[in-house]
């Protein structure tokens, strides 16, 4: 069976221009720089990475909110890379997004009922008012909101509830793919679990396929079947959660895991090797392997030849000439159960 989503060699460059009257292109921010992956029906794929890695841009490319600079996207067997007009609009019903900020992603001047019902309006569905109200209230119940609050405004809800409104809106058209872009980072810790549990329940009851984007590695590990790690516009490692977290092969994956603060004070003081320096600018990424300037294992080859994303026979696909060995993981201070 074909995957629901097949992204091949996606590239997105944002031009940097100079000049006011005549704009010359003087460079480009290489936000997504050759990314390929698939999302299977019914799975949750996690996309992790730090600021500037291109994960949000990748999501927007999949949704066709941005036009690709190069590469292709196949959705449910169809090439959607260059869809336009009515066919693009039809595609939009199948892919929906939940956003990070529950405060700016809801129109403050619309009632909740109107916000959740807006997808119906846009796609000219459920034109009967009573039927639409019922559908919206059903969605509200599905996400744990009181359907009687149909006529309330966003400011009358808490952050967690607003995020639920966003989820209800995203589900209105029963999309095939739901993209959650940092859905819980702006919420209080005690509320995060509520929304994460909700997403999991809905995924299983509605048979959703989920692309889950986050910077919090623990959250991604909990929610996702497979995880892709991005750095400066490229996927550096991708594979099943257990393999990636248990035995990361790419030095950047290892560095990310080693940096997560450990909620176990009895292990405080254990040696950890921290990643130094800053992420280079995506307008001017290092040559060949983008990570080589910060990589503790970098050798000359790394700045000359870009490593392909391939199977190293350890469970994940890794783009690295000198992937991590067992004893190096211990040196990094990785303490994830294998």
């Amino acid at each position: 069976m074909t995957a629901l989503v097949e992204a091949r060699d996606l590239v997105k460059h944002f031009p940097i221009t100079r000049g006011i009257v005549f704009q010359r292109k003087v460079g480009a921010v290489r936000a997504v720089d050759g990314v390929s992956f698939a999302i299977e029906h019914g799975e949750t794929l996690g996309l992790v990475g730090e600021t500037g890695c291109g994960k949000s841009t990748t999501a927007r490319l999949l949704m066709r909110l941005l036009q690709v600079t190069d590469g292709s996207i196949r959705f449910d067997g169809e090439d959607v890379t260059h869809l336009k007009g009515a066919r693009l609009k039809a595609f939009r019903r199948d892919v929906q997004m939940i956003f990070q900020d529950p405060y700016s992603s809801l129109n403050p001047r619309k009632t909740v009922g109107s916000i959740i019902g807006e997808p119906f309006t846009i796609h000219r569905l459920e034109r009967d008012r009573a039927a639409r109200k019922r559908s919206v209230q059903e969605l509200m119940e599905m996400v744990g909101l009181n359907p009687e609050h149909y006529n309330r405004y966003p400011h009358e809800f808490s952050g967690g509830q607003r995020q639920r409104i966003g989820v209800a809106r995203a589900l209105a058209l029963r999309p095939k793919l739901l993209i959650a872009d940092e859905p819980v980072s702006a919420l209080d810790v005690s509320i995060q679990a509520q929304v994460l549990n909700l997403l999991r329940e809905l995924q299983s009851s509605l048979g959703l396929t989920l692309l889950f984007i986050a910077h919090d590695l623990s959250v991604v590990r909990h929610m996702c079947d497979r995880v892709a790690v991005m750095y400066l516009g490229k996927i550096v490692e991708i594979g099943p959660g257990d393999a990636l977290y248990g035995m990361p092969r790419h030095p950047y994956t290892g560095a990310l895991l080693a940096a997560v603060p450990l909620a176990d004070p009895s292990r405080h003081g254990e040696q950890r090797r921290l990643l130094g320096g800053d992420v280079p600018s995506p307008a001017n990424p290092p040559s060949a392997c983008h990570f080589h300037t910060r990589c503790p294992k970098a050798q000359e080859l790394c700045s000359l030849e870009e490593p392909p994303l391939e199977d190293k026979r350890t469970g994940t696909l890794t783009a690295c000439h000198y992937p991590l060995e067992q004893q190096e993981m211990a040196q990094l201070g990785l303490r994830v159960p294998g």
Binding site: S190, A193, A259, V260, P261, S266, L275, D278
Partner: protein
């Protein structure tokens, strides 16, 4: 480590009168901070953690706060100090760093100038001396190529570098106490690790006391010697860090520990959220402020407001909870083994929450 606390907060209360009523932001908290040690204050929105630290430096006065209680810093009560006296202490003996360095650094002044200002506000130094100190500070916090960076603007730095600059400014006059309010929340995880390590190293070198305010239990575990958990303007639990993680006593602390996924626990172990939302600080719940969200609450918990009490057998561990110590121990053992609250309640033989 000395025996006398560097900072001692005693029964601090901070209220803000508003149109909708009085906001009880901080409702009687007591804690102390020792030289060379780190206190972690954990809490979520509306817990009062930020207001209590801002009040330490008198930064809530302008907002019409009604403050009572004492904040003793080396014998002086900061609550009664004049604005002039506080100004001499801010950025000098007590320094503070905030969550978002981009909004805390002045965007229109070069970084060097801001550092120089911090130095010259409290010391009699010539511009050259202050500039030399600025370069020294940038080096101290690990900013590469300080001679070039000192004349750059904040927006030319990355998030992690800006936070280092903030730390440099805070350390300019070798403060005895550093208050860090969510210092790494806005930063990437690898940068967070660098900043926390930097703070720890500077603490060792300068013997500073640190108060770190955060919602992240991992950060607390990594950096704090002692922990105070705040909820609805109160401290509900406090103890040395190891004890809070090994034997947490308050259901809210349990909730915090059980509702976040960690890398150490099994991947698909269910998260146990704390139901409901943080309470209004204007109309707080009666009795124990946490009872509406507590799975283990009993009928009289809606009437009685628990005070902080010592946990039997743990002289440094205090908790404000009406459940029996023995019951709490057994409940936590159940939760830690991965059981859900309903199961834990049944296993321990506690009547189900009536509220």
């Amino acid at each position: 480590m000395s025996d006398e606390p560097l900072l001692r907060v005693e029964d601090l209360r901070v209220e803000f009168p508003t149109e909708d009523g009085v906001v009880h932001a901080v409702d009687g908290i007591t804690y102390q901070v020792f030289k060379g040690r780190t206190l972690g204050i954990v809490g979520e929105s509306g817990s009062g953690k930020t207001v209590s630290s801002l009040t330490t430096l008198g930064l809530t006065r302008r907002q019409g706060a009604r403050i009572s209680g004492r904040i003793l810093f080396e014998g002086r009560d900061l609550v009664t100090c004049s604005e002039e006296q506080l100004r001499a202490i801010r950025g000098n003996e007590i320094a503070m760093i905030f969550q978002d360095p981009l909004s805390s650094l002045h965007p229109l002044y070069r970084v060097g100038r801001q550092l120089i200002e911090a130095v010259r506000a409290h010391r009699d130094a010539s511009r050259q001396q202050a500039r030399a100190r600025a370069l020294e500070l940038l080096g101290l916090v690990g900013i590469p190529d300080p001679a070039r960076r000192v004349d750059m603007y904040p927006h030319e730095f990355s998030g992690g570098m800006r936070q280092r600059v903030m730390i440099a400014m805070a350390l300019a006059n070798e403060p005895k106490l550093l208050i860090a309010d969510e210092p790494t929340t806005a930063l990437d995880v690898t940068v967070q690790a660098q900043i926390l390590e930097l703070m720890e190293r500077l603490q060792r070198e300068l013997g500073m006391a640190i108060v770190i305010i955060t919602h992240d239990m991992g950060v607390v575990a990594e950096t704090a010697d002692d922990v105070a958990v705040m909820y609805a303007g109160r401290i509900v639990e406090t103890a040395p860090t190891g004890q809070v993680f090994a034997a947490p006593q308050h259901p809210y602390t349990w909730g915090l520990l059980r509702s976040i996924p960690t890398l150490e626990r099994p991947r698909d172990e269910p998260l146990v959220p704390i139901p409901g939302t943080p309470p209004s600080l204007i109309n707080r719940p009666s009795g124990c402020h946490f009872h509406p969200r507590c799975a283990y609450a009993q009928p009289d918990h809606a009437r009685i407001d628990p005070a902080l009490e010592q946990v039997p057998g743990a002289p440094e561990h205090f908790v404000a909870c009406l459940l029996e110590a023995e019951t709490r121990l057994r409940l936590w053992q159940e939760l830690r083994a991965g059981r859900k609250p309903e199961q834990a309640i049944a296993d321990v033989g506690l009547p189900e929450a009536q509220v």
